[in-house]
């Protein structure tokens, strides 16, 4: 009987295939929006998490400026800059810190032969590789003498190497960075993309003193990376650094910090927060779309019941009970909205795949969500199909048979 009813429903739906398609469009769009949004959102969140682990969860960053400005804010206007002495102090005086390293960055055009490529030049030292858990693919690290004198030596990220040199090995070749000519001494191993697609391999490392003298023009250090020893909590290390820096920068007991210590977890939770707010907003839009889709189904089912009054009369005359007629129309609207749900799931997955490709984040469809979308479209069919089906079931067979 149920099989018959479903078959009957499919027949009725296919008889008006185009109208049925327009009817379920609301459901299709609603479900597709939810699936696509959540898939892309999930992909971004996964990516952030992955970045955090490639960057190292045990990494702290120190920048000058007010804490309220957040991790993204630039150097605070009045706050004094950090110095190389601060780097050494953090590393030597805080037992919970394994290594500390300076990091000054600027966008600069690198030139090799007749090839130009604009990249990020970071002034730092060998401890940067330790802190970021990064190794060399070829060549060598900076010599101590190079670091001390601020020699013009550079280590290329894989992306920069590829752009400037294609397939050939650049070690030992000179490139130009602004007015500096510098010798390539090594190439970093591949690190991959970070959150929202920024390419971590798009980087050139030079000794911090070379950066300060020839690019920055000052003794400032704009950021310090500090990696925490294994087994020590981030909060403890953070507290230690804050105490030391307050002392070193003569911050009074009732004054706010004029520097900022933040960890990757903070960045990750901030990014995840943004993603989930976006996902929430768009899901609300999708829910409205599903509601409108449901009303569309109700509308078309009412039209269908009116159009088929005579058919209903015949069915009642040959002995269909109220329940059997109710079931027929209810199954029809459920099948209709399930078709919409299925189309929506397929469209949503396709859009999600496209979106994750464009943002270069992992495509991780959520099975629970897909199941939920499927069940939800069935619920829409039941809720919005019930009233029209009841109207069909309650028809007076005599009136229905007389209907033209």
């Amino acid at each position: 009987m149920l099989y018959e009813t479903v078959r009957l429903a499919l027949q009725a739906i296919l008889r008006n295939a185009f109208r049925s398609f327009l009817t379920v469009l609301g459901i299709v769009i609603g479900v597709a929006a939810v699936i696509a949004m959540v898939t892309v959102g999930q992909g971004s969140t996964d990516q952030v998490q992955a970045d955090v682990s490639t960057l190292g969860t045990n990494l702290l960053m120190v920048r000058p400026g007010q804490p309220s400005h957040g991790p993204g804010s630039g150097v605070g206007g009045t706050a004094p800059a950090l110095t190389l002495k601060d780097v050494d102090a953090i590393e030597e005086q805080i037992p919970s810190v394994a290594v500390a390293t300076p990091s000054n960055s600027r966008a600069i055009t690198a030139i090799a032969g007749n090839v130009n490529y604009t990249t990020t030049v970071t002034g730092t030292d060998n401890r940067f590789l330790v802190a970021r858990d990064w190794s060399l693919a070829s060549g060598r690290e900076f010599y101590e003498s190079e670091l001390r004198s601020g020699a013009s030596a550079c280590i290329l990220g894989e992306t920069v190497r590829q752009k400037l040199f294609g397939h050939s090995d650049p070690v030992g070749v000179n490139i130009r960075l602004k007015q500096i000519s510098c010798r390539v001494i090594g190439v970093l191993s591949v690190k991959g993309a970070s959150s929202f697609g920024s390419d971590q391999d798009d980087i050139v490392l030079i000794p911090i003193r070379a950066f300060q003298r020839r690019i920055g023009g000052s003794q400032d250090v704009s950021m310090i990376y500090a990696s925490i020893r294994n087994g020590i909590s981030t909060d403890k290390a953070k507290g230690d650094i804050e105490r030391l820096m307050r002392e070193r920068r003569h911050v009074g007991p009732f004054e706010e910090d004029d520097f900022n210590v933040f960890d990757m977890k903070q960045i990750s939770s901030m990014l995840t927060g943004i993603t989930s707010v976006l996902t929430g907003l768009l899901s609300a839009v999708a829910a409205v779309s599903l509601l409108v889709g449901g009303i569309g189904i109700m509308n078309i089912m009412l039209v269908s019941v009116t159009e088929r009054t005579r058919e209903i009369g015949i069915r009642l005359a040959v002995g269909a009970t109220e329940g059997q007629v109710l079931l027929q129309f209810l199954v029809e609207s459920i099948v209709l909205s399930l078709i919409g749900g299925l189309l929506g799931i397929m469209l949503g997955l396709a859009l999600g795949l496209l979106g994750t490709k464009l943002l270069s984040v992992p495509f991780a469809p959520n099975a629970t969500l897909i199941l939920a979308a499927f069940l939800f479209s069935a619920v829409v069919g039941i809720v919005f199909g019930y009233f029209p089906a009841l109207r069909a079931a309650r028809m007076d067979p005599i009136e229905a048979l007389r209907h033209q």
């Binding site: 009987m1 018959e4 008889r15 005579r310 058919e311 009369g313 015949i314 069915r315 009642l316 005359a317 040959v318 002995g319 269909a320 009970t321 109220e322 329940g323 059997q324 067979p397 005599i398 048979l401």
Partner: protein
């Protein structure tokens, strides 16, 4: 006693209890000034195997009577016994079950499902009985064969002539092996030759299978196929007679 081919031959056949019995059945539509008394106190007994033609001008109450007899409508007052059981107080679903199991309907406009094959149309009542597909198909085929439509199982109504469509409707009515067929002007949309074919088919179902037939008609020559003529006028039964059939039915 009575021959198998001619059940209920005489008027005073008391030993056979009536299949259908109406007592004081009244039907009133509307209220107050708009009140229409469609039936006023009808008494009617119909024996099993009878072939009754119901005649009367429009508005005489014959359609209302047919709707009540067919469990499609309920009387405002009075009693309806079907096989000795009172049915006028039954609910919609119980009436649907009575229609499904004991009645078959034939309408003037055929009332077949459009874009549905003859076989599927005939199957319809069996689907609601919950019969398995294979058995259903076989019974529907048999019913179509009985009305002479073998080979037309897969035709849709639009591909069949009026007479053929009415045969499909008759097949649908008999597929459940009903006690009664209610035919509402079954020949109203057909030409004379087709009308006589349909009447001969109904007569055969009455004579051979013993199905009780209640038929509303306007046409006296169609009414002549019946054993009994009931005339309605102004919501009452004006006459109820069994015309003696002359030897050799042909007119």
């Amino acid at each position: 006693m009575s021959a198998a081919g001619h059940p209920a031959p005489a008027a005073a056949a008391a030993p056979v209890p009536p299949l259908i019995s109406l007592r004081g059945v009244t039907k009133i539509y509307g209220t107050g000034d708009a009140e229409v008394r469609a039936l006023s106190g009808i008494d009617l007994d119909i024996a099993p195997g009878d072939f009754v033609a119901i005649m009367g001008p429009s508005g005489s109450g014959k359609s209302t009577a047919m709707n009540i007899l067919g469990f499609l409508d309920k009387p405002s007052s009075g009693t309806y016994f079907f096989s000795g059981a009172e049915v006028e107080h039954l609910g919609r679903n119980q009436l649907a079950l009575l229609r499904r199991n004991f009645l078959g309907f034939v309408f003037q406009g055929y009332n077949l499902l459009a874009r549905t094959t003859a076989l599927e149309n005939v199957e319809l009542p069996l689907i609601y009985q919950g019969m398995a597909r294979a058995e259903r198909r076989q019974l529907a085929r048999d019913a179509l064969a009985r009305v002479g439509l073998t080979g037309r199982e897969d035709h849709q109504p639009s591909e069949l002539s009026g007479g053929q469509q009415q045969r499909v409707a008759i097949a649908r009515a008999i597929v459940t092996n009903p006690n009664v067929i209610l035919a509402d002007e079954p020949t109203g949309n057909l030409d004379t030759a087709r009308s006589h074919e349909i009447m001969e088919l109904l007569t055969e179902l009455n004579r051979r299978d013993g199905i009780t037939i209640l038929m509303v008609t306007h046409e006296p020559d169609m009414a002549e196929y019946a054993d009994r003529l009931v005339h309605f006028l102004d919501g009452r039964i004006a006459s109820d007679e069994r015309p003696r059939k002359e030897a050799g039915d042909a007119v």
